[in-house]
């Protein structure tokens, strides 16, 4: 397991461009717009995508066959990918929070918990959703085909959410006010809830991924 994690961390060393662009975007959004909430979500979600890069690299030139002939079981491979995802989401979140706090101090602007906490909760949820949906699809279809499958899944997700908002609007329910009441009124519960919900989602996704991997042929 540790060997696999080291391999994936080594993959990230080649991602200088990715981290460079992320840093530029962060600076732009912090100093031009002071939009801390956006920066937190943006960085956390981008970090959650890193696992997909490592899986594409594993798959490069049919590399999975060889990887699974090393002392790595199929279940261990899946477990490591989920651990790596959680670690990368958390490290993204922690580092962006540190940067935001420092930036706020430099800019002498006050950080409002009402602004930051909902962003943290939403980031955790969205990142867990991204990982939870993407990993099984990537394992099932491989790097190439999964792009099409993912476009379909996320497209359907957005359409579904849009439809729900529209239906609520016609029924006279103010969705934004409803979300605000959840997010802002109970800050800590919201973050806790997001962690629990994200965790449950990841556990279910993990069980599906293990099943896919055990059945897979290489």
């Amino acid at each position: 397991m540790k060997g696999l994690l080291i391999k994936d961390i080594n993959f990230l060393k080649g991602q200088k461009q990715f981290f460079g662009i992320l840093a530029i975007m962060m600076i732009v959004f912090i100093f031009s717009y002071s939009n801390f909430a956006f920066v937190i979500s943006y960085v956390t979600i981008m970090f959650s995508v890193l696992v997909i890069t490592t899986m594409s690299y594993d798959d490069y030139e049919n590399g999975m066959c060889y990887l699974l002939s090393l002392p790595v079981s199929r279940k261990q491979y899946v477990t490591e990918k989920y651990i790596f995802s959680i670690l990368s989401i958390l490290s993204g979140l922690v580092s962006v929070l540190v940067i935001v706090i420092v930036a706020a101090a430099v800019k002498r602007s006050t950080l409002m918990a009402e602004e930051i906490m909902p962003a943290v909760a939403a980031s955790i949820l969205i990142a867990a959703l991204m990982v939870g949906v993407t990993l099984p699809i990537q394992l099932k279809f491989g790097a190439e085909k999964s792009r099409i499958a993912l476009m379909g899944v996320f497209g359907a997700g957005f359409l579904g959410a849009y439809a729900v908002v529209k239906i609520c609007e016609t029924a006279g329910i103010d969705v934004m006010a409803f979300l605000d009441s959840i997010f802002i009124d109970n800050l800590m519960t919201t973050v806790g809830g997001a962690i629990v919900l994200g965790g449950v989602f990841l556990v279910v996704s993990y069980m599906i991924s293990v099943k896919i991997m055990v059945k897979k042929e290489f």
Binding site: K2, M64, Y66
Partner: protein
């Protein structure tokens, strides 16, 4: 150590039905032309594909039950797969030392250097030969009891091939170790294997000890008349030629004594493959 019993795998237009065994302390060769089923056989024995029938066992355990601990005991080279191209040799060293409890880090690093494999270059920028050398060195770096090598010498020049075969011989000096090796370069196998399996269209068509193969097998060349008068009891394959017939036998001595007028060529393994595959029974 490794045993395949009637292992079946059906693909569109191809069916594998293979039995073979690698006993402890032996070097076993697997030969066959491209597409004969060598790589499918290797995938089946590593549990990379699900078989449709038969039994694969490694260290006496069904391959499906093989855990990470068991896989520490094997070293693998695959013909069409390897370390991810986005890693460097240095990255591989740090990964391997956490995967294998008996990984010889310094020795591996030295061997990589002596085989001119750069430590800090991405593997995707390596030549085919360099990638192959790296895999063979990695397979031998962690005290594996069994090496499963699919085309380990493909893409290597003569010198590198000789050096690698030298390393493999050195590896076999420790008692209790075994090797299964496939190659399309028969010279590699002739001088190295104890026994050889030949696979064609997914089935094993020949299994023989290398010594017997080289001493008792031969190609007989004859005219049409000689062919019709020939006792064909020990003819494995025959093939029509411009001059008459050529036949493959596993009883060279019989024909030498009884048909002294025949041209008898001591077959090398390449000719043997050609006759086994192209000749008629």
């Amino acid at each position: 150590m490794l045993k395949l019993e009637n292992v079946k795998k059906q693909y569109k237009g191809f069916e594998l039905n293979c039995s073979l065994e690698v006993p402890e302390g032996c070097v076993t060769g697997l030969i066959g032309k491209n597409g004969a089923g060598k790589s499918t056989t290797f995938k089946a024995m590593l549990g990379l594909i699900h078989t449709d029938g038969g039994q694969v066992s490694l260290f006496g355990k069904p391959v499906r039950e093989l855990g990470a601990k068991d896989k520490e005991r094997i070293g693998v080279v695959l013909a069409d797969s390897g370390f991810s191209g986005y890693l460097t040799v240095k990255d591989i060293i740090s990964m391997m030392e956490h995967l294998y409890p008996h990984f010889h880090k310094e020795d591996f690093r030295k061997k990589c250097e002596s085989f001119e494999l750069p430590l800090n270059k991405k593997i995707k920028d390596f030549s085919t030969g360099m990638k192959r050398k790296l895999q063979v060195l990695a397979a031998m770096s962690h005290e594996a009891e069994l090496l499963i090598l699919d085309e380990p010498t493909a893409g290597l020049d003569v010198l590198a091939r000789d050096e690698l075969l030298g390393l493999l011989r050195e590896y076999m000096e420790t008692e209790g170790r075994s090797v299964l090796i496939s190659s399309h370069i028969s010279g590699d196998l002739e001088g190295f294997c104890d026994d050889i399996y030949m696979i064609d269209k997914g089935s094993i068509v020949l299994h023989e000890e290398t010594d017997v193969l080289l001493s008792d097998y031969a190609l007989l060349k004859m005219s049409d008349e000689q062919y019709h008068a020939l006792d064909k009891s020990y003819v494995l394959r025959h093939k029509k030629e411009d001059f008459g017939y050529s036949c493959l036998t596993n009883e060279k001595q019989f024909y030498k004594e009884n048909y002294p007028e025949l041209v008898i060529e001591k077959g090398n393994i390449d000719e043997l493959i050609m006759m086994m595959v192209r000749g008629e029974e």
